[in-house]
Amino acid sequence: MSAITPTTPVPGLFEIQAHNWKLAILVGLIVSVLSMFALPPEAAFWITGAMAAMVAAAFVVNAYRRHYYGGLLVAPAIAVLFVMNIFPLLWSLGLSFFAYQSNQQTIRFVGLTNYTKVLTDSLKAPENWANLTNTAMFVVLTVTAQMIVGFLLALMFAKQFPLRKYLLILVLTPMMLSVVAAGVFFSYYYDPTFGLLSYFIRLFTGEQFILMDNKAGAVAGIVFADAWMWSPFVMLLVLAGLVSVPKYLYEAAAIDRVSGWRRFWSITFPYIRGLLMLALLFRTIEAFKMADLVILLTKGGNGTMTISYHLIRIANEQNKTSEGAAISYVMLFIVIVLTNLYLYIANRRTEGA
């Protein structure tokens, strides 16, 4: 805030000062990374922990000396995130440059080999690309379905009507379910012998209906279950946007004899665009991680294998930690590019409008 003036000058990068947090980060990173390479994991852990504490201390001292309350306010969150999230992430990033299997106690630096392996190896790369393609398919299908269904549901609830509150909570319930229970019950609904889907279709065709014996059916089954669970999330965000449109704008539009289509794009849509973007962002991130429903419904059969499920097999079942880390960082790269693209488009639209 402009009202707060720094009382301590900003130190140069290599000036040894208790509040020189830049130097602290630099030293901390170097020491931590070196210790991870050179020392047994336990020692490396404590050294990295100490380095994190040092950086944190430098931040706090810096903030305190400069009356920089922003830093003090942010510090606890950064500390928790660093210890519980960023540090393990960096650790696994480091592992992606080694040949390491978690069930064997040898480790060897191999540089970018893991990355070239997962991206170009004649046996592994095609499988990875196929899984990635499937994932992309699921991302597009589930997110589109969620956006459409969520949007339509929101339109339905945008008006005030009797009992609305009670009907709304019914629609919100699916996203509160545990994925395990939802997945298991959907496998029951889709079951050709016991399932309700088969039962109802049979009333018309007289034949048991096998949904998941082909790719289209299996994908449809998974997309349906996922969209069912998470459309309420989109609905909630869109609905919040819809109810936030001031009523007088619609009145003005009525007076101005604006057509329904134009009214939506000129008045309503600007209010929900930001929220739609947020929903799109979070749902896309989640869709990239889709594995649970696939495991519960098809085990990846009939062309439904996703990169995330593949990753679970690699990193968990087969303990190929480094290879898994490499795959996941390739994945992360794609997600970051994609989300930045979203954010870029969203910002450009906002500025352009």
Binding site: Y68, G70, L172, G324
Partner: protein
């Protein structure tokens, strides 16, 4: 616009004025759609009152009563509460006596761990969001994006370092460990939501309060927080829903004393040398749904207001 709040208004029969008013016709339409949408959940709830031998019957038994002979018997099941008692106490060996299943503990753990960690994330995240909003750093957006990035990777990738870290620090199997982890898990979303709320607030009042000599903390607690209560409620509900059903970390980092319901739930999926115990699984899920259902229901109004407040730029 009658002044007194009648019982009808409390029940949601509020007459709103103006163009967005819709009547019972809309109720009927939305009711049908909502019920269809709710059907899979309803079937889970119905299953929770069925014995295992009736759970998979064809044609499906969906009525607990034959309504004085209106419904053919093929569709009628005999409702039982056995699944609900079995959640907490049942024989764990063939022919054995009923014993405690530990689910009372698991429910307690789930409620405790989820609520404490979401609240903690709310406290820490709100402070941070306020910091990010009022004391912008250079490259603020980058920091925020990095924070979001931590949610982008599948959890399985970071699990090995975290398990090791937990062992070294003795946090494995403790409440503290899993709570801290879930707190971190909730922070990105909390910070993103709360920052946008603070960004929306008008600075005039705060500046005035500062000029009057109020300290930063006082400004935060007395002026900013009350304005973002709806946002806090919305963030709490979202955080709760996401944390409530977390599975992988709970599986790997809790001990038998700190185990949460989603982990223990698999017991009914392929436990005990039987495939799925449909009634039992449904009963666990139904019980597990209740707390988060009611929290959401009671914070529903805030949920909508909160979300909007935070994200719509005008």
């Amino acid at each position: 616009m009658s002044k007194a709040t009648s019982i009808w208004e409390k029940l949601g029969f509020r007459k709103a004025s103006g163009v967005s008013e819709a009547g019972w016709g809309q109720t009927l339409f939305a009711g049908i759609i909502s019920l269809i949408y709710f059907l899979p959940v309803l079937l889970i709830i119905i299953t929770s009152f069925k014995l295992q031998t009736e759970a998979l019957s064809i044609p499906p038994k969906f009525m607990p009563t034959n309504l004085f002979g209106l419904i053919p018997d093929a569709y009628v099941f005999s409702p039982t509460l056995e699944n609900y008692t079995s959640v907490f106490s049942r024989a764990m060996t063939s022919g054995g006596v009923a014993e405690n299943t530990g689910f009372d503990r698991y429910f307690f753990n789930s409620i405790m761990i989820a609520s404490v960690s979401v609240l903690l994330a709310l406290v820490i995240g709100t402070l941070a969001a306020f910091g990010f909003s009022r004391y912008p750093l250079k490259g603020n957006d980058t920091y925020l994006f990095v924070i979001l990035t931590t949610r982008m990777l599948p959890a399985i990738v970071v699990i090995i370092p975290i398990i090791l870290m937990f062992r070294v620090t003795g946090l494995s199997g403790s409440y503290l460990g899993i709570i801290m982890l879930y707190t971190a898990f909730n922070l990105p979303f909390t910070i993103w939501m709360m920052k946008s709320f603070f960004d929306e607030l008008s600075l005039d009042v705060e500046d005035a309060a500062r000029l009057d000599g109020s300290s930063g903390l006082k400004v935060f607690f007395k002026i900013c927080l009350p304005q973002v209560l709806a946002g806090l409620a919305a963030t709490f509900v979202f955080g709760l829903i996401l944390t409530w059903n977390e599975f992988l970390f709970a599986l790997l980092l809790t001990g038998i004393d700190t185990r949460t319901v989603p982990v223990a739930m698999s017991q009914a999926v392929a436990g005990g040398g039987i495939g799925v115990l449909w009634g039992l699984l449904a009963a666990i899920e139904t019980l597990f749904l209740i707390p988060v259902f009611f929290v959401t229901f009671f914070l529903q109004d805030h949920l909508l207001r909160g979300v909007t407040f935070g994200t719509v730029k005008r």
